[in-house]
């Protein structure tokens, strides 16, 4: 089985963004995942989001652990920084990298195994520290690399391809992220790029821990009747609370919508997230109501998607730790070893 490189020829009318890049300049090497894998669609959505945000590829650091999902950073943003870490340890590596150089945009890509099983503790602690990042789980409910055993996010009662029924209670990563203090929480579906792309754009622009759970059907092991993570199930049970547009500046904001149907949320950096309400009275800035909504609708067997929670004025780890403005990796010997005199001054403070 060979994988040919994607041909270099592109559509002559392919647009360039403000940085002079086409969408295809944000591609990576050819995917070796199974044909039709939802993860490849998420990669395409990330590519599209970075293209639309005019991000210079070298400004992004993509981090991942182990698993099908964690292979994907090789398949997008081929010109960006990347680190493929130990299984479930991506959050620690990302935290460390962010501490050292807060000037990069951090994109953590993980899966349900990597984040909800072996890396569950890492995931929760990374979120609660307020690391400024976009954390995406490509959630398919099975261990694809080991041929389709249930993962920790598989719903109780869902059927495996081999016919078994899952008896364990599922971990809902969205609820955990909310509990742990994520300031941007969304859920989407790999088969719905019009929802997913603006969500990723908004998350990348969010100055705090942003978490997106993306249901990503495993076509090889979890796309059958009885699965709650199949294309058909998610399409049939998709309860989208809103759809969004993301604007980098205020200039393009025009309001020609009926009152009450649109909610504009301004983020710290001045960017605007425009929410087209689908579920009446859903307010994504109310955390308690969000948790309530999620629980109620999960009971009904619905998959709630959209921008679920947003704190427009988040504080990230560096603000909480009150680090200096200069990224730590730029500090020289002079700043880091200020000498005996400075040490004496510090010690004097504690006497």
């Amino acid at each position: 089985m060979t994988y040919l490189a994607k041909p270099k020829f592109r559509h002559p009318s392919l647009e360039k963004n403000e940085r002079g890049f086409t969408r295809r300049d944000y591609e990576g090497s050819i995917s070796t995942l199974c044909a039709g894998c939802g993860h490849d669609s998420i990669s395409a959505a990330i590519i599209q989001a970075c293209f639309e945000l005019n991000i210079e590829p070298h400004r992004i650091a993509k981090m991942s652990g182990i698993g099908c999902s964690s292979k994907t950073p090789d398949y997008f943003l081929g010109q960006s920084h990347g680190f493929n870490s130990v299984h479930g340890r991506m959050p620690s590596v990302l935290t460390g990298a962010n501490l050292a150089n807060k000037n990069l945009i951090y994109l953590g890509v993980s899966g349900d195994g990597d984040s909800a099983s072996i890396g569950l503790g890492q995931f929760v602690h990374c979120v609660r520290r307020g690391v400024n990042m976009t954390y995406i789980t490509e959630n398919n409910g099975v261990y694809g690399l080991t041929k389709g055993q249930f993962s920790a996010t598989a719903d109780r009662g869902s059927k495996s391809k081999a016919g078994g029924t899952n008896t364990d209670s599922p971990i809902d990563l969205v609820s955990m992220a909310l509990l742990a203090g994520a300031t941007f929480v969304g859920r989407s579906f790999s088969g719905d790029k019009p929802q997913l792309v603006p969500l990723i754009k908004a998350a990348l622009s969010h100055n705090g821990p942003a978490f997106i759970d993306v249901i990503s059907p495993c076509v090889a092991f979890n796309n059958h009747a009885g699965s709650t993570k199949s294309f058909d199930f998610v399409r049939d049970h998709n309860d989208a609370v809103n759809r969004l547009d993301f604007f980098e500046g205020r200039a393009e904001i025009v309001t020609d919508y009926e009152p009450g149907t649109v909610q504009d949320v301004e983020q710290h950096d001045g960017s605007i997230i425009r929410l087209h309400k689908i579920a009446d009275s859903y307010d994504p800035t109310n955390k308690v109501a969000t948790m309530n909504y999620l629980a109620t609708h999960h009971e009904k067997g619905e998959v709630v998607t959209g921008l679920l929670y947003l704190d427009p004025n988040p504080k990230d780890m560096h603000q909480l730790l009150r680090t200096v403005d200069v990224p730590l990796n730029r500090l020289g010997v002079k700043e880091l070893c200020p000498g005996a005199k400075a040490l004496d001054t510090i010690n004097d403070e504690y006497r």
Partner: protein, 611 residues
């Protein structure tokens, strides 16, 4: 991303474009742009793959069946396929299709045992062919194996028509032409060469079952300007002069030559002059350089041989002294465009230009001439003196008389003549058997999956990035010394192989099956040229604006697949599809498949009668 695109998909499909009917052979045929553009519908990608596989004889036979003269056309074709080639839409230049045909011809080896044999039983029908050019020879090739008695008339001593008389030997060596004409004369037609036909009625009186007129456009247009008569000894009509050179009645020309005209005949005239002693040879054209009728490569070849092309000069007078030509006087013009964009050439007001010369070759166009067709022979002529000929059946108003090649619709080229010949042969075969000529036989079509395994196809789907390879030429010092030395050396096998790799295999079609599709978007994500979109249906004009990439080339179809679970449609813009098969490789359910579409135009014979 627009708000409209964010609307949740409807479950029932909206009205709009109808699902594409891929069972109509025209649909996929159009996607094979080269084959569609070829008047004879040669299956181009099919023979290019055979060349790549080193199967030159097989590649030659694919050609020979469709276009009868692969060796000739591989050197001289007007190449309607190349401007149509999809490669030219994704990068700078199309595949060198024509020169690849020559690779097949040059390397075919011995193929006589694959050719049809003379019919062992005759069917008793007698057909006359007037003219032994490409149109008539095609009719002969198609009809002779069926048992027809075919009589070919020509004024020249050897068969070949304009391929022999008008195309210089440095472009088309005699042995190449002799071989391919020989393949047809081996089928034993009755040749009546070296005598001009003076009366159609006399031919009809011989009791033929049908007559095919393929006499070409044999008259070179004259230029009636002052001095024409006085200086006539040194003013020659281009095609007549080329013919005299071809039959070796003429072997030299003056040192200073002016060629008037901007078509391919003018290019042949000037290049021939350079080889017969012309040192200062120039081409002078009324129009601008871009609008010249000559093929771009023929202009290029002429200029390479040190022949300047002067544009926007209208000949006004042949100057002469003591009964001898001294030069040509030209008026300078410029192009002006009216509101409708129609061009006219108006005097620029600059002083006239005089070029001195010893000889002039007039190559300002060709005309049909039918002085030998009596006006009461049952054939209607239009006001331009052209016979009224049906464009599909090639039948004239005398049901027994068919026309083809330049004789039918005015000057075109060899490949059109061949296409007419095939069509006329079908008509003649039907006509003499009492069948309706209007009832045309459908083409033979196969559509077969190329899948061999996961990521394995029976065609090479790795897209080569190579730019078009140049055909090597003889150096001018050698080429200009000998009017018979073939100037283009052709691709050797290695270079030919490299050029074959540029072909996108447009005949390997992306076939979509909506009922297998799970709408995972894998094909959309992987497509290098953004051809595929899943969206709400709409009318074509609207849909073309809503695709992943706008579909602005309206000459290329949108492939619509309907019946998806979400109620959306699959819309694929055929325009820039690389036929790389990545959509099918990425498809988890086999909803996309790569299937080879092979279309062969039906030719005269029992198979088309049976329908």
């Amino acid at each position: 991303m627009s708000i409209d695109a964010l609307d949740a998909p409807a479950k029932r499909s909206r009205p709009g474009m109808k699902p594409t009917d891929i069972s109509n052979p025209d649909y996929f045929h159009k996607v094979v742009d080269c084959q569609w553009a070829c008047p004879a519908h040669t299956p181009v990608p099919e023979y290019i793959r055979l060349i790549a596989a080193g199967r030159y004889a097989d590649a030659y036979m694919v050609n020979w069946k469709s276009n009868v003269f692969p060796g000739v056309l591989g050197r001289t074709c007007d190449r309607p396929c190349e401007p149509a080639c999809r490669r030219g839409r994704v990068e700078a230049e199309p595949v060198a299709i024509c020169r690849l045909k020559r690779v097949a011809a040059d390397n075919k080896g011995e193929i006589r045992d694959r050719l049809p044999k003379p019919a062992t039983t005759k069917n008793g029908k007698r057909i006359a062919l007037i003219g032994a050019g490409p149109a008539s020879l095609t009719v002969a090739r198609d009809l002779l194996p069926l048992g027809y008695h075919v009589v070919i008339y020509d004024q020249d001593p050897a068969a070949g028509g304009m391929m022999r008389t008008q195309i210089p030997k440095f472009r088309l060596p005699e042995k190449v032409l002799d071989e391919e004409v020989g393949f047809i004369t081996d089928l034993q037609p009755e040749l009546r060469m070296g005598k001009r036909v003076d009366s159609l009625k006399a031919v009809l009186a011989e009791g033929f079952d049908a007559v095919f007129v393929g006499c070409g456009a044999p008259r070179g247009r004259n230029l009636e300007i002052p001095g024409r008569e006085e200086a006539k000894a040194n003013i020659h009509i281009g095609i007549d002069w080329l013919s005299s050179v071809s039959f070796e009645h003429v072997d030299k020309i003056g040192k200073r030559v002016i060629v008037l005209g901007g078509g391919n005949t003018a290019m042949d005239c000037c290049r021939t002059s350079r080889r017969l002693g012309g040192e200062d040879v120039k081409v002078v054209v009324r129009s601008g350089f871009e609008e010249m009728k000559a093929s771009p490569w023929e202009k290029e070849d002429s200029m390479r041989e040190g022949i300047p092309i002067h544009n926007f000069l209208v000949p006004k007078e042949f100057t002469h002294k003591a009964g001898k030509l001294t030069g040509v006087l030209f008026e300078k013009v410029k192009a002006e465009f009216d509101a409708k964009g129609k061009r006219s050439l108006v005097p620029s007001g600059e002083p006239d230009v005089h070029f001195e010369c010893d000889d002039v070759l007039v190559a300002v166009g060709q005309e049909n001439a039918f002085p030998w067709i009596e006006r009461d022979a049952g054939i209607e002529f239009d006001k331009w003196g052209m016979p009224k000929v049906d464009e599909v059946t090639y039948q004239s108003s005398n049901p027994k008389v068919f026309f083809g090649g330049d004789a039918a619709f005015g000057p075109k080229n060899i490949i059109w003549a061949v296409a007419h010949g095939h069509g006329a042969a079908v008509s003649i075969d039907k006509f003499v058997n009492g069948l309706s000529v209007a009832d045309r036989p459908p083409p033979f079509v196969t559509l077969a999956s190329q899948k061999m395994g996961i990521h394995e196809w029976s065609y090479d789907n790795d897209i080569a990035n190579d730019l078009r390879y140049k055909v090597p030429h003889l150096p001018n010092e050698v080429a200009l010394k000998d009017v018979k030395a073939e100037v283009e050396l052709g691709f050797d096998r290695e270079l030919g192989y490299k050029e074959t790799q540029r072909c996108l295999n447009c005949d390997v079609q992306t076939v979509f099956s909506a009922k297998l599709c799970i709408e995972c978007d894998a094909c959309v994500d992987i497509c290098p040229t953004d051809c595929i979109t899943f969206t709400e249906n709409g009318d074509e004009k609207d849909l073309r604006t809503r695709l992943t990439a706008p579909a602005k080339n309206t000459t290329q179809d949108i492939y619509v697949g309907d019946g998806l679970k979400t109620g959306r449609i699959m819309a694929k813009d055929e325009d820039l599809c690389l036929h790389c098969g990545f959509c099918a490789e990425r498809c988890p359910t086999g909803a996309w498949d790569m299937q080879k579409f092979l279309l062969e135009t039906a030719q005269a014979g029992e198979k088309c009668q049976s329908r």
